[in-house]
Amino acid sequence: MKVLLASIVCASSLFAHFQTVMTDKSVIEQGGNTKVSIQYEFTHPFEQQLMDMQKPKEAGVFMEGKKTSLLSSLQAVEKNKLHTWKSEYAIKEPGVYQFYVDPVPYFEPAEEKFIRHQTKTIVDAFGSGEGWDKPIGLKAEIIPLSRPYSLYAGNLFSAQVLYKGKPVPNAEVEVEFYNTKGLKAPNEMYITQVYKADKNGVFHVALPTDGWWGFAALMDDDEKIKKDGKSYPVELGAVLWLKTEAMK
C-alpha cells in the first residue's frame, strides 16, 4: 500500500518546472506607455503552482548587441510566502528588446540534479522589426524563426535550439501554457506538451489559445555543480516565453 501511495505521489509531482520572464506588453507603439514591467517566476505554469525563486545570478535586457543589467533594480515580490521578482525598464528608442534571466541553479532532490533555465522574452518598440532572431549569447538559447510578438492564437511558432551557439539536433522541447484562465487538462499528459526538434534543432509548435506560452528546450550541461561534497548534473534549459492574442 505504501509503495502504491508513493507511486501516486511521485506521479502527481511530475509537472514541468519553468523559469519565466514575462512583460506587461510585447509591443510598444508611438503614444503608448514606454515603461515595461517585467516579472520573473519559477513555477509550474499550467498548474499555477509557484516555487521559491532566489535573486537571479543575472537579469537584464539585450538590444542591438548590448546587454544592460537590471539586477540592481530587481525587487522581491512575495506570493504565498514564496519569492518572485519584478523590475521595470523605460524604453527610450526604437528597437527589439530581449529581457532575460539566468537564475541561481535550483537543486531538485527527487531527480538528483540542478535545474538552470536561461530564459528570455522579446519586446518590440515602435515597429523596429529587427533583432528578434538574434541570439543574446546565452549558453542555451531558443532563437525564434517566427516573429515572437504579435502572434495570434492558433499561429504556428517555429524556433531553433542552440547550445553554446550551435544547433541542438533532436532537442526535446517542453511547452506549457501559463494558465491564468483556469483551464483543466483532460489528463496530466496534456499539461506539458513535448516536441522534438529536427537535426538542425528546429521545432514547430501550434499555439491553440491566447495568452503566455513557454518553451523549454532541456539538455544536459557539460558542467556539474557540487553540493555537500557530491557532484550533480545540471539540466540546462533554453527557455522562451511569448504571448499570443485572440483574433477578434
Binding site: G31, G127, S128, G131
Partner: protein, 126 residues
Amino acid sequence: MWAHKINLFAYDEEGKLFVQSYFTKSSPCKQCTVKLLDANQKELLAFATDDEGKASAKLPSAEFDIIVEAGMGHQTQTHYVAQSHTKEEAKVLPSDTPLDKMLLGLVIIVFFFGVLYWIKRKPRHA
C-alpha cells in the same frame, strides 16, 4: 521591408520635436515629408527627414497630428501630445512684450503725476 509599413518614433525635449521614421530600424524613410497638422487637419508645419530618416522642428503647439509621407500612398499618421510644451511657450504673457512694458510704464507715470496733481490741488479747495 514588411509590406513597406512606415513606422514613426517621435519625442520632444525643451520645446523641440524629434521625429524618426523607418520601414525597419535599419531601413530609414529617407527624405520623406513630415507634416504637423492641427485639430482641423490644417497644416502647421512641413519639413523633410534626412538620410537617416530623422528630422526635428520647434513644437508648434501642445497637441497635433504627425504625418509622414513616403510617396506611392505610403504614409503613417499619429496624434502627438507634447511633453515639453509649456503654456509660456504657447502664449507669451503681455507684460513680457516690449510694447506692453512701455504702455505699463506710461500708465504708471500718468498715475504718479495724477496723484501729485490731486494732492497739490486739494489745499486750494480747502
